[in-house]
Each structure stands twice: as structure tokens, then as C-alpha cells.
Amino acid sequence: MFRFISQRLAMSIPTLLLISLMVFAIIRLVPGDPALLMLGDMADAHSLEVARASLGLDQPLPMQFLIWFKAVLSGDLGHSITTNEAVLPLILDRFQVSAGIVLVSVLLAALIAVPAGLLAAWKQDSALDFGVVSTATLLLSIPSFWLGLLLLYAFGIKLGWLPVVGYVSFGQAPWQALSFIVLPIVTLTLVELGAITRMARASAIEVLRLEYITHARAKGLSERAVLWRHALRNSFAPTLTLIGLILGNLLSGIAVLETVFTLPGIGRLMVDAIYARDYPVLQGCLLLVTFVYVLVNLLVDLLYPLFDPRVKL
């Protein structure tokens, strides 16, 4: 158990290193001088020189990477070029907003989709199965930002039940905060339902054909016990992997949704940073989201044996 965990942890270290290297490279590939970007066109030669030295730009590239990496390890992601805010608190603050929405909607989607997929698999090729699969495929094909716009139109403008623009944090006004995030959560839940249902159904179909299910039935267990106790647990493992991937993908693709609902999340921050050429912020966002992505997948790998005991710890 301990060996498995430490091995898996050790395996993700080169990945994280390579990712840092890539993020560093992406920003260094940007045409133009970061010092010039920071100070603007009016800067004189001397202050440019000072800025370059303080950014470590006068060092050779490998050295620059080491300096940058050391700073990252100590939690120093630099300062925003546009607002001069420290990057780390800024991105963590924005990350909370996105992470909350993503976590709640993936949880909701899984709670609906996994039983739905299992039922569809149990009644494979029936009308129920057909209905579940068609709905799931349809939901899978709807882009989140369009669904968001439709819901915004229906509930925000036509019915007037929910506000169209704005955001307050939970700390300030919980009920009002809820009214701002309910539509984004519903949108993401609906969009993710499709993929998770299909996965849950596919893996349940495979499991339901195995001999131990026949055995469970033969020893007289009720269908309910067979499904919920035996089939569900074993078919959940691949679905869990998918849920991990979805979590990471949602976080990285959430910019579109945050644009639709004008939410101050990490995705919007990233896009704004791209527009403003605010590279330290962009770098911080890229780094944070990919690290979370890798860590979520790591967590899924560590949880996997809980559901599929054949995978040895």
C-alpha cells in the first residue's frame, strides 16, 4: 500500500517537472522582451537593464529556469504586470470560484449518471436503455457555452427568476451567491451527464456479463442486491477515471462558461491575462490548473483499488 502510493507519487514528479518546463518555455517563446513589456515603451536603457537583471533575464536560459523554478517552489509566482498584485493569492482566490462550481456539478452529474447508466445497462436494448443513451448522446453534443446562453435566456431573461450578470462570494451573501452560481452549475451538470452516463453504462454492461454476477444471481440474491452491491462497485472504477479526467478538463475549459455567466474564475482570469499580455498571471494560471489536473488524476489512481480490488496496492 505504502509502496504503491510512494511509487505513484514518484512517477508524477518527472511529469510535474516537464510541465513546469513547458509552461516556462511557452512564456519564453513569446516574441518580445518581458522587461520591455513590464516597463512599457518609454523605459530608458538603464531601468530596462535593472528590470532584466531583477527578472534574471541576463542569465543563460537553463539558469533562468532554475531561478524561476526555485521561486515557484517557494510560492513566489511573481507579480501581475497590469495590477502589480502578487500572482499566487490572486489565482488561488479566483481558483476557489471555479473549483467550487466544477466540484459541485461533477458530483451532481455523477450522482445522477452512474445509477442511470447502471439501469440502462441492466435493461440493455430496451426502450429505457434507448432513451438513456439517446439523451446522453444528445447532452454530450451540446457545447456548454451554448447551453449556458440558452439557460440564461430562459431563466434570466424570459422568466426573470435569476440574475443575468454579476457575482458575489458566499461569504458576503450566501443566498445571493447561490442565485449567481445555480445556472453555471446546472449547465455543467447537464453537459457532463452525457459522458458519465455513457461510460457508466458501458462498464456496467461489461461487468454484468461476468460470471460472478451469474453466480450472485444463482445463489438467490435479489436483482437489487446484484445491481447495487455487486455490479455497481465493480463497474464504478473506469467511471471514476473518467470523472477525474472530466474534473481536470472542466477546470481548463471553464473559461467559456465563466465568460457566459461573467464569473470571476480562473478561466476568465487566464483569458484576460492573455488579452492583457500579463504573462506572470498567465504562467501562474497554467501552472496551477495543470498541477491540479495531474494531482486529481493521481488521486483517482490512488482511489482506484478501492473499487477494483484486482488492481493491487
Binding site: I19, L140, S141, L149, I157, I205, N249, V271, I274, T290
Partner: protein
């Protein structure tokens, strides 16, 4: 009575080829998928030679008109004909996805075969980079690259194909590794074929099926990613029409001209549905484990 000639043992035959099957009515998902795909292709092809109006012609007197006989799907905030722009958008979306998927497949197949063929340190090095790229969420990689390249059509193609290549590499290499020790590959070596010939003649053709399945999904991903990037203003820049940037432009008019946001979304959803259904049908056909 002639004795039957000794039949060559199966191990000496080239890559296994399935016996041709009798034609059956294709499953429902294939039919609907093909129909939608056909519709899309016609829309895009027609848009190349003819559109009801000039998709770029401004007419500020006729801005934000609801659907009429002259403008079937209405006009946008500059008085441009929505239907004409959707047709051009279909062409843009399909062109981006075709280029992206072909580039990802060519590069991915080449690298995957190379890794599986050379093995050793080339394989290890390639796979390490590949896994790191896979650990980088695709859309984020594309977003980061678009920040450097700046919004442009070929920029998207480059960024997305770079993001999708690693999954092709993984699939191809996986197939190569699973086949390397199979009897028909062994047989090819035994009768004196070179490693390279064996690879290209016997192993590579078996990668076609899994790569095709992956490619169908990638078409959908590419269309979705392109429209998402264009929606964010990081994709194909205006005034060129794409479904994504039309949707983005419709946002301020959601209360007054809601049809503007409706039709581009329908197009994206239709395209995604077409590729999802075709992909399902293809997977059912090539991977019989899932069907009864």
C-alpha cells in the same frame, strides 16, 4: 480423387483480414450520424460556391432583423445575413477540424510507429514527452499556444493538432506493442522480411481501425475546441465567420435578438452529434465487445 493440397498454416498468412460480411441495414446511430454529416458537408460545400447573401456585406439599415423571407435566419448586429455566415462558418469549422485531425494523425502515427519500432531509449524519451503532453489538458495547451501565436485560423490548427497528437501516439504505440509478438508478425520475420517491412506491411495496417475510431472523436473535439476558442476571441478572428465567434457576438443581444445565439449553437451541436453518432457506430462495428 485428388487429395486437397496442404493448406498453408495460418501463421504464415499476412495480417488477419476479416471475411467480408453480408450487407446489413446500418444501425440507427450510423444512419442519423451520416445524415447529419451529409447535411453539414452540403452546407459547407454549397457555402464555397453560393450563399444567399454576401456573408461580409454590411447593411446597417437592416441590422438585427428577425428571420424574414429575404433573410431566412435573420441578420446580425451589422446587418449581415446569418444563414450565409453559418454556411461560411460550416466551411471554416470543417476545414479546421480536417486539417487538425490529419496533422495529428500523420504526426502521431509516425511517432507512434517510430517509438514502437525503435524501442529502447528513443521509445522511452518519446513516451516521457508524450505523457507530459498528455498530462497537459488539451484545451489549456491550445489556449497557452494561442496566447503566443495570436488568433488566426492556422494558429488554431497548429495548437490543436499539437494538443491531439499525443493521444494518437499512445494509441498507435499501444497497438504496435500488442502486435509485436503475435504469430503473424513472428511469421513475417521468420520468412526473412526485414523489421521495417514487417512494420509497414503487417503491423501498421492494424493501427488503422483504432486510429479511425480516435479520429472520429477528434473531429468532434476539434470543432468544439475551435468554436470555444473563437467564442473567447482567441480563435478565428472576425470579420471571418465561425460558429464560435458568431455566438460570442450574439451575447450582447441575447434579450433583444435571441435568434442570433440560437442558430450557431444548433450548428455546433449538430456537428458534434454527427461525429459522436458516427464514432459510436464505427466503434460498435470495429470493437464487437460492446454489442450483443
Amino acid at each position: 480423387m485428388n487429395k486437397p493440397l496442404p493448406v498453408a498454416p495460418e501463421v504464415l498468412l499476412p495480417a488477419p483480414v476479416r471475411a467480408p460480411r453480408a450487407w446489413r441495414v446500418p444501425p440507427l446511430n450510423a444512419l442519423i450520424g451520416a445524415f447529419l454529416l451529409g447535411l453539414l458537408l452540403i452546407m459547407a460545400a454549397l457555402g464555397l460556391v453560393w450563399t444567399p447573401h454576401d456573408p461580409l456585406a454590411l447593411n446597417l439599415l437592416a441590422r438585427l432583423q428577425a428571420p424574414t423571407a429575404a433573410h431566412w435566419l435573420g441578420t446580425d448586429e451589422y446587418g449581415r445575413d446569418v444563414l450565409s455566415r453559418l454556411m461560411i462558418g460550416a466551411h471554416t469549422s470543417l476545414w479546421v477540424s480536417v486539417l487538425t485531425v490529419s496533422m495529428a494523425i500523420v504526426a502521431g502515427t509516425f511517432l507512434g510507429l517510430l517509438a514502437g519500432f525503435l524501442r529502447g531509449w528513443v521509445d522511452r524519451g518519446l513516451m516521457m514527452i508524450n505523457d507530459a503532453l498528455l498530462a497537459f489538458p488539451g484545451i489549456l495547451l491550445a489556449l497557452g499556444l494561442m496566447a503566443i501565436i495570436g488568433p488566426s485560423l492556422y494558429g488554431i490548427v497548429f495548437a490543436l493538432s499539437l494538443a491531439y497528437t499525443p493521444s494518437v501516439v499512445r494509441v498507435v504505440r499501444g497497438t504496435v506493442l500488442s502486435l509485436r509478438e503475435k504469430e503473424f508478425v513472428e511469421a513475417s520475420r521468420v520468412i526473412g522480411n526485414s523489421e521495417l517491412y514487417t512494420m509497414l506491411r503487417h503491423i501498421a495496417p492494424n493501427c488503422v481501425a483504432p486510429v479511425c475510431v480516435l479520429a472520429t472523436s477528434m473531429f468532434g473535439w476539434a470543432i468544439l475546441a475551435e468554436s470555444a476558442l473563437s467564442f473567447l476571441g482567441l480563435g478565428v478572428p472576425p470579420p471571418a465567420a465561425t460558429w464560435g465567434n458568431m455566438l460570442a457576438a450574439s451575447r450582447p443581444y441575447i434579450a433583444t435578438a435571441s435568434w442570433l445565439g440560437l442558430f450557431p449553437g444548433v450548428c455546433i451541436a449538430m456537428a458534434l452529434l454527427a461525429f459522436n453518432l458516427c464514432g459510436d457506430a464505427l466503434r460498435d462495428r470495429l470493437d464487437p465487445r460492446m454489442s450483443k
